[in-house]
Symmetry: C2
Subunit: 107 residues, 2 copies
Protein backbone atom coordinates (compact mmCIF):
# COMPACT_ATOMS: atom_id res chain seq x y z
CA UNK A 1 0.00 0.00 0.00
CA UNK A 2 2.83 2.35 0.67
CA UNK A 3 0.96 3.65 3.66
CA UNK A 4 2.77 3.10 6.92
CA UNK A 5 0.52 1.65 9.61
CA UNK A 6 1.49 4.23 12.18
CA UNK A 7 -1.53 3.52 14.36
CA UNK A 8 -0.34 0.05 15.30
CA UNK A 9 2.93 1.35 16.65
CA UNK A 10 3.60 3.33 19.78
CA UNK A 11 4.03 7.09 19.91
CA UNK A 12 7.62 6.51 20.80
CA UNK A 13 8.33 4.22 17.91
CA UNK A 14 6.75 6.65 15.49
CA UNK A 15 8.70 9.56 16.92
CA UNK A 16 11.97 7.69 16.66
CA UNK A 17 11.16 6.86 13.05
CA UNK A 18 10.45 10.52 12.34
CA UNK A 19 13.65 11.70 13.96
CA UNK A 20 15.59 9.11 12.01
CA UNK A 21 13.90 10.24 8.85
CA UNK A 22 15.58 13.60 9.29
CA UNK A 23 18.89 11.84 8.67
CA UNK A 24 17.65 9.21 6.25
CA UNK A 25 18.46 11.11 3.07
CA UNK A 26 21.94 12.28 2.09
CA UNK A 27 20.67 15.73 1.16
CA UNK A 28 19.18 16.18 4.60
CA UNK A 29 22.35 14.88 6.21
CA UNK A 30 24.24 17.49 4.22
CA UNK A 31 21.80 20.22 5.22
CA UNK A 32 21.91 19.34 8.89
CA UNK A 33 25.68 19.01 8.88
CA UNK A 34 25.98 22.37 7.21
CA UNK A 35 23.68 24.02 9.73
CA UNK A 36 25.38 22.41 12.69
CA UNK A 37 28.85 23.40 11.52
CA UNK A 38 27.96 26.99 10.73
CA UNK A 39 26.94 28.24 14.09
CA UNK A 40 25.86 31.55 12.71
CA UNK A 41 23.05 29.78 10.94
CA UNK A 42 23.85 31.20 7.59
CA UNK A 43 21.16 30.02 5.33
CA UNK A 44 19.99 30.41 1.78
CA UNK A 45 23.44 29.60 0.53
CA UNK A 46 22.48 26.01 1.09
CA UNK A 47 21.34 26.28 -2.47
CA UNK A 48 24.86 27.16 -3.49
CA UNK A 49 26.44 24.61 -1.22
CA UNK A 50 24.39 21.68 -2.43
CA UNK A 51 24.12 20.22 -5.92
CA UNK A 52 20.35 20.28 -5.93
CA UNK A 53 17.84 22.77 -7.20
CA UNK A 54 16.37 25.43 -4.99
CA UNK A 55 12.93 23.84 -5.04
CA UNK A 56 14.26 20.45 -4.03
CA UNK A 57 16.19 21.94 -1.15
CA UNK A 58 13.16 23.90 -0.08
CA UNK A 59 11.21 20.68 0.13
CA UNK A 60 13.83 19.03 2.28
CA UNK A 61 13.80 22.08 4.54
CA UNK A 62 10.05 21.79 4.80
CA UNK A 63 10.34 18.16 5.85
CA UNK A 64 12.97 19.02 8.43
CA UNK A 65 10.72 21.74 9.78
CA UNK A 66 7.84 19.30 9.99
CA UNK A 67 9.98 17.01 12.10
CA UNK A 68 10.96 20.06 14.11
CA UNK A 69 14.70 19.63 13.99
CA UNK A 70 15.21 22.99 12.31
CA UNK A 71 13.41 26.29 12.51
CA UNK A 72 13.35 29.29 10.24
CA UNK A 73 13.69 32.88 11.26
CA UNK A 74 12.36 35.36 8.77
CA UNK A 75 14.84 38.10 7.96
CA UNK A 76 13.41 39.57 4.83
CA UNK A 77 13.98 38.85 2.23
CA UNK A 78 15.88 35.86 3.56
CA UNK A 79 14.83 33.08 5.86
CA UNK A 80 17.51 32.04 8.26
CA UNK A 81 17.39 28.39 9.13
CA UNK A 82 19.02 26.94 12.13
CA UNK A 83 19.00 23.84 14.28
CA UNK A 84 16.24 23.64 16.85
CA UNK A 85 18.28 22.91 19.92
CA UNK A 86 15.52 21.19 21.86
CA UNK A 87 14.75 18.73 19.12
CA UNK A 88 18.44 18.20 18.46
CA UNK A 89 18.83 17.28 22.12
CA UNK A 90 15.80 15.05 21.85
CA UNK A 91 17.46 13.24 18.94
CA UNK A 92 20.70 12.93 20.84
CA UNK A 93 18.93 11.48 23.86
CA UNK A 94 16.66 9.24 21.82
CA UNK A 95 19.39 7.67 19.73
CA UNK A 96 21.68 7.49 22.72
CA UNK A 97 19.18 5.52 24.75
CA UNK A 98 18.23 3.35 21.83
CA UNK A 99 21.74 2.48 20.76
CA UNK A 100 23.03 1.95 24.28
CA UNK A 101 20.23 -0.41 25.22
CA UNK A 102 21.97 -3.19 23.37
CA UNK A 103 24.55 -4.98 25.42
CA UNK A 104 25.63 -7.73 23.12
CA UNK A 105 23.96 -11.03 22.49
CA UNK A 106 24.68 -14.58 23.36
CA UNK A 107 24.75 -16.07 19.88
Amino acid sequence: MGVTKTEVFSEKENRIADLAKAFAHPARVAILTYLSENRTCICGDLVEALPLSQSTISQHLKELRRIGIIKGNIEPPKVCYCINEEVWQEAKLTFGLLLNAYQGCGC
Copy 2:
Protein backbone atom coordinates in the same frame (compact mmCIF):
# COMPACT_ATOMS: atom_id res chain seq x y z
CA MET B 1 11.98 11.73 -9.98
CA GLY B 2 11.93 9.66 -6.85
CA VAL B 3 15.50 8.63 -7.47
CA THR B 4 17.94 9.88 -4.87
CA LYS B 5 21.02 11.46 -6.43
CA THR B 6 23.44 9.46 -4.32
CA GLU B 7 26.36 10.17 -6.64
CA VAL B 8 26.46 13.85 -5.78
CA PHE B 9 26.87 13.16 -2.09
CA SER B 10 29.84 11.80 -0.22
CA GLU B 11 30.25 8.19 0.83
CA LYS B 12 29.88 9.30 4.38
CA GLU B 13 26.65 11.18 3.81
CA ASN B 14 25.18 8.23 2.00
CA ARG B 15 26.23 5.83 4.72
CA ILE B 16 24.72 7.99 7.42
CA ALA B 17 21.51 8.14 5.45
CA ASP B 18 21.49 4.37 5.14
CA LEU B 19 22.11 3.82 8.82
CA ALA B 20 19.35 6.27 9.64
CA LYS B 21 17.05 4.47 7.27
CA ALA B 22 17.31 1.44 9.52
CA PHE B 23 15.45 3.45 12.17
CA ALA B 24 13.27 5.49 9.85
CA HIS B 25 10.24 3.23 9.96
CA PRO B 26 8.33 2.33 13.12
CA ALA B 27 8.27 -1.36 12.20
CA ARG B 28 12.04 -1.41 11.90
CA VAL B 29 12.38 0.47 15.17
CA ALA B 30 10.20 -2.18 16.76
CA ILE B 31 12.23 -4.98 15.22
CA LEU B 32 15.56 -3.52 16.27
CA THR B 33 14.30 -2.74 19.76
CA TYR B 34 13.03 -6.26 20.10
CA LEU B 35 16.31 -7.75 18.96
CA SER B 36 18.38 -5.48 21.17
CA GLU B 37 16.29 -6.22 24.25
CA ASN B 38 16.24 -9.96 23.77
CA ARG B 39 19.88 -10.76 24.03
CA THR B 40 19.31 -14.36 23.16
CA CYS B 41 18.34 -13.24 19.68
CA ILE B 42 15.08 -15.11 19.68
CA CYS B 43 13.64 -14.65 16.28
CA GLY B 44 10.68 -15.77 14.24
CA ASP B 45 8.35 -14.69 17.00
CA LEU B 46 8.79 -11.22 15.62
CA VAL B 47 5.82 -12.18 13.53
CA GLU B 48 3.84 -12.75 16.70
CA ALA B 49 5.20 -9.71 18.42
CA LEU B 50 4.37 -7.31 15.63
CA PRO B 51 1.02 -6.49 14.10
CA LEU B 52 2.25 -7.03 10.57
CA SER B 53 2.15 -9.97 8.26
CA GLN B 54 5.03 -12.39 7.99
CA SER B 55 5.85 -11.29 4.48
CA THR B 56 5.97 -7.63 5.44
CA ILE B 57 8.26 -8.36 8.36
CA SER B 58 10.46 -10.47 6.14
CA GLN B 59 10.89 -7.49 3.85
CA HIS B 60 11.89 -5.21 6.68
CA LEU B 61 14.38 -7.85 7.82
CA LYS B 62 15.78 -7.95 4.31
CA GLU B 63 16.28 -4.19 4.30
CA LEU B 64 17.93 -4.32 7.71
CA ARG B 65 20.25 -7.04 6.46
CA ARG B 66 21.09 -4.97 3.40
CA ILE B 67 22.14 -2.13 5.67
CA GLY B 68 24.06 -4.68 7.69
CA ILE B 69 22.68 -3.83 11.09
CA ILE B 70 21.33 -7.33 11.61
CA LYS B 71 22.50 -10.73 10.53
CA GLY B 72 20.75 -14.07 10.32
CA ASN B 73 22.10 -17.31 11.69
CA ILE B 74 20.51 -20.38 10.24
CA GLU B 75 19.30 -22.80 12.91
CA PRO B 76 16.96 -25.02 10.97
CA PRO B 77 14.18 -24.72 10.59
CA LYS B 78 14.46 -21.25 12.06
CA VAL B 79 16.62 -18.36 11.13
CA CYS B 80 17.93 -16.58 14.13
CA TYR B 81 18.31 -12.88 13.63
CA CYS B 82 20.45 -10.77 15.78
CA ILE B 83 22.10 -7.39 15.90
CA ASN B 84 25.37 -7.12 14.04
CA GLU B 85 27.52 -5.67 16.77
CA GLU B 86 30.03 -4.01 14.48
CA VAL B 87 27.41 -2.13 12.53
CA TRP B 88 25.54 -1.28 15.70
CA GLN B 89 28.75 0.24 17.03
CA GLU B 90 29.22 2.05 13.75
CA ALA B 91 25.75 3.55 14.14
CA LYS B 92 26.45 4.53 17.72
CA LEU B 93 29.68 6.20 16.72
CA THR B 94 28.25 7.83 13.62
CA PHE B 95 25.22 9.37 15.30
CA GLY B 96 27.27 10.26 18.34
CA LEU B 97 29.75 12.24 16.28
CA LEU B 98 27.07 13.81 14.16
CA LEU B 99 24.85 14.89 17.01
CA ASN B 100 27.69 16.09 19.20
CA ALA B 101 29.19 18.25 16.47
CA TYR B 102 26.57 20.89 17.09
CA GLN B 103 27.45 23.25 19.88
CA GLY B 104 24.63 25.73 19.74
CA CYS B 105 24.15 28.65 17.44
CA GLY B 106 24.30 32.34 17.81
CA CYS B 107 20.85 33.17 16.56
